[in-house]
Structure formats: structure tokens, C-alpha cells
């Protein structure tokens, strides 16, 4: 039981963390709440499905190609639709939710509402700590962890990462240091979308594809972001771990409780909003004129 909870937490938590980190990045740098963030996750799933099932590519190249494609689409959306409206926060919310719906309807039109699935890279299962883990789960979890570590290194060990963190904290001061904040925001939008697409691509073999699959992770990452603190990368990772753990607890400890997991995450979100609105690692946005 305990081991089951741990494994589920790890796999889900890593995927949530990746989605939440991407969401936080573009919020921090661009002050953009991108409700279409998980739509990129869905697009990557369908893109892999098409490339593998229709075009007959192998899973790994299909994955790489899908991430690339979705990132290009996302950057175009950012440049053409989101960036020009950036200063109007409500408009950005409307635009991004509309984008997500457009993608959903397009998928419905071309793929129908049927559940689809994507084959994984590995068959069979192995036993870790006495729990049966499918090889696909283990590989997904490991790759997610590697990517998360790479993001951390990118943010903390490179010049671009420093510029991203500086811009997220004070856009004007970043400008004064000679940083081209709008270029940094565009690059961040690309990284953010690539993370969402990668999460989608990696999780695709474990999940069922259907056109509404973006909605549930979106509500969960909103809960994670609120819990961890808006714009905080560290907060996103801790938040993802906590939400994933509480979800697995609900699934495994409450009899037939799996339908309650979403409600439970949102309950956590409401409690955090009541007690500590800035979240675990959030900072009040100050010093902006």
C-alpha cells in the first residue's frame, strides 16, 4: 500500500511538476496566466498519436518531433495572440482559454471524441520495493526527473537562466542591466511550452488521449501554483509533490475514492487561499509601477 502510494505520487508528481514549472516560468517572466498551457500537453499527445499510428514513426523520434512542433505552435500563439495583449490581464485569460477550446474542438473534429492510446517504448514491468511498476512508468518517471533537473540547471547555472530569474523579479531593473526582456519572455514562452509538450509526450503512453484531457491537469496545476506560490519555481515543485501525494492518499486510502482526488486538490487550494494567499514560496508582487 505504502509503496503503491509512493510510486503513484512519483509518476504523477513529476508530470505535474513539469507542467507547473512551465506555467510558473511564463507567469514569472511575462506576468501571463496561460490557461492554454495544458492544451500544449494535449496537442503533444495527439501529435505523437498521429506520428506513431498514422505516419508509423517510432515513439522516441515522434516524441522529439512532437515537442518541437508544439513549441513552434505555442511560440506563434504567444507572438501573435498573447504578447500584443499582455498588459490586459483579463483579456489574456480570455484569449488563452479560447485558444485551449479551439485546440480542443480541432482535436474533436479531426480525431473524434474516442479514447485513443499511444504505445510506449517498453513492455512489461519490473519490481521496485516490492511494487509492480510497468517499465513505461519507470522510464517516464526517470526522464521527467532528468528534465526537471535540466530545467533547474538551466535556471541556476546559465546566463539565460539568470536573465529569466532577474526578469521575473524586476522587469525594469532587468531592462536597465541591458537585458532584452521581450526576447527573454519569448524564449521563456518557448521553454514553457516545450515543458508542457514534453510532459504530454512522456505521459501519453500511460494515459488515454481524448480532447478534454487538458482541463483536469489545468485545474490541478492551478491548485499547485496557488499552493506553491505564484511564479515560484521551487514552490511549483513542492506544490506538485504535495498535491500528487494527497491525490494518491485519497485514491488508495478512501474506498472508491479516486473520483474525489480533484475535489481534494481544489480543497487544498481553497484552504491555502484562505490561510496563506501568497502560497508556500510566493512573494507579494511589489516594486512594480
Amino acid at each position: 500500500m505504502l509503496a503503491n502510494i509512493l510510486v503513484t505520487t512519483l509518476v504523477n508528481g513529476a508530470a505535474y511538476a513539469m507542467l507547473a514549472v512551465g506555467f510558473s516560468l511564463i507567469f514569472g517572466v511575462g506576468r501571463i496566466i496561460n490557461l492554454a498551457h495544458t492544451a500544449y500537453y494535449m496537442l503533444a499527445g495527439y501529435s505523437i498519436f498521429t506520428l506513431v499510428r498514422v505516419a508509423g514513426l517510432a515513439y522516441v523520434p515522434a516524441m522529439a518531433l512532437s515537442i518541437l512542433l508544439v513549441t513552434v505552435v505555442a511560440v506563434l500563439c504567444y507572438k501573435l495572440l498573447i504578447d500584443p495583449m499582455r498588459e490586459h490581464e483579463t483579456t489574456v485569460l480570455i484569449i488563452t482559454i479560447a485558444l485551449a477550446l479551439v485546440f480542443q474542438e480541432l482535436m474533436l473534429k479531426y480525431f473524434g471524441g474516442h479514447f485513443r492510446s499511444v504505445p510506449g517504448v517498453a513492455e512489461g514491468s519490473l519490481s521496485i520495493l516490492g511494487v509492480q511498476v510497468t517499465r513505461q512508468q519507470a522510464i517516464t518517471c526517470a526522464v521527467l526527473a532528468v528534465i526537471l533537473a535540466a530545467v533547474w540547471l538551466l535556471l541556476h547555472r546559465t546566463r539565460f537562466g539568470l536573465a529569466v530569474r532577474a526578469t521575473a523579479q524586476d522587469m525594469e531593473a532587468a531592462n536597465l542591466m541591458g537585458m532584452d526582456v521581450s526576447r527573454i519572455a519569448t524564449l521563456t514562452a518557448a521553454v514553457s511550452a516545450a515543458l508542457s509538450a514534453a510532459a504530454g509526450a512522456l505521459v501519453a503512453p500511460l494515459n488515454i488521449l481524448e480532447p478534454h484531457m487538458w482541463l483536469n491537469p489545468l485545474t490541478i496545476i492551478l491548485a499547485i501554483i496557488v499552493l506553491g506560490g505564484m511564479g515560484s519555481i521551487k514552490g511549483s515543485i513542492y506544490g506538485a509533490a504535495i498535491i500528487a501525494l494527497s491525490e494518491s492518499l485519497v485514491i488508495f486510502l478512501i474506498p472508491q475514492g479516486s473520483f474525489l482526488k480533484g475535489a481534494f486538490s481544489l480543497l487544498i487550494m481553497i484552504i491555502v487561499l484562505l490561510i496563506r494567499p501568497e502560497g508556500l514560496f510566493g512573494v507579494a508582487l511589489e516594486g512594480e509601477r
Partner: protein, 248 residues
């Protein structure tokens, strides 16, 4: 080196700068003093490109209804209309009001952010060493998160970060606000030192006495206009200016 010609800035219906002209020559330390709300900070923001950037960011809203007319030249090149990062890359660097450190970054990361445009590890090391020499406290606090520094230390950090960009002309906006007299004295000494090291400076200050004493020339900005300029003695010789603007 810097020439501002008839700069007028309006935010919506409020005129914050009215036909302001000023000049800073190579090597000078020029003071800019004046009462609260005179437009000193707006002038700094206009020169460094932040006013236009703000207009760009707030376009389509009432707060974005900003007009800027007039000309700004830096090293012979016209810079009004350039985005702030381009102006900073040319060597005109503003050390902003309220210090504005990247508060979640450590002291060393803040300095590294300042050196964003400095190419080469060696150039970075050398500049860092110079900054640490000038402000030893920054080296002592290198790993500390900058939000936890005291006000004086944060100002040192802001200056150090600005120096890391290797500026040609350094504009400093109200560095001494909120500091104790002792720290203030230390800070002004450092500012003089930076100027003597060959960096031209435009210093905006509330502390009129100190600024006039340090600056070769000073401008007095009041109600969005330059009302007087000159050396300390010239300004002090005029009874009206001395009493109504300088309060000395």
C-alpha cells in the same frame, strides 16, 4: 556626452517634464536637485528609456497615454525612442530609485546579472574584483539573498550592480534616501570615488547640501522645469534660489 534638448513628458493630462534641457560632459559629476514631485525621477526614466517602455507595456490603457517629445543624445547618437536595454548596452546606465535589487537572487547573482552584457570570464572576474574592492561588504555577503541586506547594503549592491555593466555614464537616482547620516557619508564618498575613476555621473538627490558640494555643476528642477543651473557658488549667490529651492 549626454545632451537633453527640450524634453517634455506628459502622463495622460499631467505634464511631468516641461521643455527640460541639460548637458553632461565627459568626466563630470553633475547634480540634479529639486523638491519632491519636481520630475527628477521622470527625467531619469525618460533618459534611460523606461518611460517609453512603460508606454509600450501599458498601451491601450489610460496609464499608457504617455507622450514624450524632445531629443536626447548620448555620445552624439540620438537615443530617445530606443528601448531601455539598447540604451543600457551603449553604456548609459541608470541605478534606479529605491535600489531595486533582484530580491530573491543572492548578492553575487545580482552582480552577475549586472554583468549580463560583459563578455568573457576574465572581464567579468576583473570587474567583480573592482566592485568587491570598492564595496568589501558585498564580498562578505556574496551568498546572502539580497532581500535580507540592510538599506545601506542594498544601495551598495545597486551601485555595484550598475558598475558591473561597465557604464560610461552612470545616472544615480536618490541613493541616500532612508539611510543614516553615517552610511550616507560613506556612500557619497564612494560616489565621488567612482566618478574619479573615470565614470561620468548624473546624480539625482534630495540631499542638496551634499550634492552641491560634490557636483561640479548642478541643475535645479522644480515644477517640471529647470529653474537654475551652475556651480555651487553661483547657485548659492542667488538669494531667491538659495531660499526657495535649496532651503540652505
Amino acid at each position: 556626452m549626454l545632451e537633453v534638448k527640450n524634453l517634455t513628458v506628459c502622463y495622460d493630462t499631467a505634464m511631468l517634464l516641461n521643455e527640460v534641457s541639460l548637458k553632461v560632459n565627459r568626466g563630470e559629476l553633475v547634480g540634479l536637485v529639486g523638491p519632491n514631485g519636481a520630475g527628477k525621477t521622470t527625467l531619469m526614466r525618460a533618459i534611460s528609456g523606461l518611460v517609453l517602455w512603460e508606454r509600450q507595456m501599458k498601451r491601450g490603457t489610460r496609464a499608457g497615454n504617455i507622450t514624450l517629445t524632445g531629443e536626447v543624445y548620448f555620445q552624439g547618437q540620438r537615443i530617445d525612442g530606443l528601448p531601455p536595454h539598447r540604451i543600457a548596452r551603449m553604456g548609459l546606465v541608470l541605478c534606479p530609485e529605491r535600489r531595486r535589487p533582484f530580491s530573491e537572487l543572492s548578492v553575487e547573482e545580482n552582480l552577475k546579472a549586472g554583468a549580463y552584457r560583459v563578455r568573457g570570464r576574465r572581464a567579468y572576474r576583473d570587474t567583480l574584483e573592482l566592485v568587491y574592492q570598492m564595496f568589501p561588504v558585498l564580498q562578505k555577503r556574496a551568498r546572502q539573498v539580497s532581500a535580507t541586506l540592510s538599506g545601506g547594503e542594498q544601495q551598495m549592491l545597486a551601485l555595484g550592480r550598475a558598475l558591473m555593466t561597465r557604464p560610461v555614464l552612470l545616472c544615480i537616482d536618490e541613493p541616500s534616501t532612508g539611510l543614516s547620516p553615517l552610511i550616507k557619508g560613506e556612500l557619497f564618498a564612494k560616489i565621488g570615488e567612482i566618478n574619479r575613476s573615470g565614470i561620468t555621473m548624473l546624480l539625482v538627490e534630495q540631499d542638496v547640501r551634499q550634492t552641491l558640494a560634490m557636483a561640479g555643476r548642478s541643475y535645479i528642477l522644480s515644477h517640471s522645469k529647470i529653474v537654475a543651473q551652475g556651480k555651487k557658488d553661483e547657485l548659492m549667490a542667488d538669494e531667491t534660489i538659495r531660499q526657495s529651492y535649496l532651503g540652505l
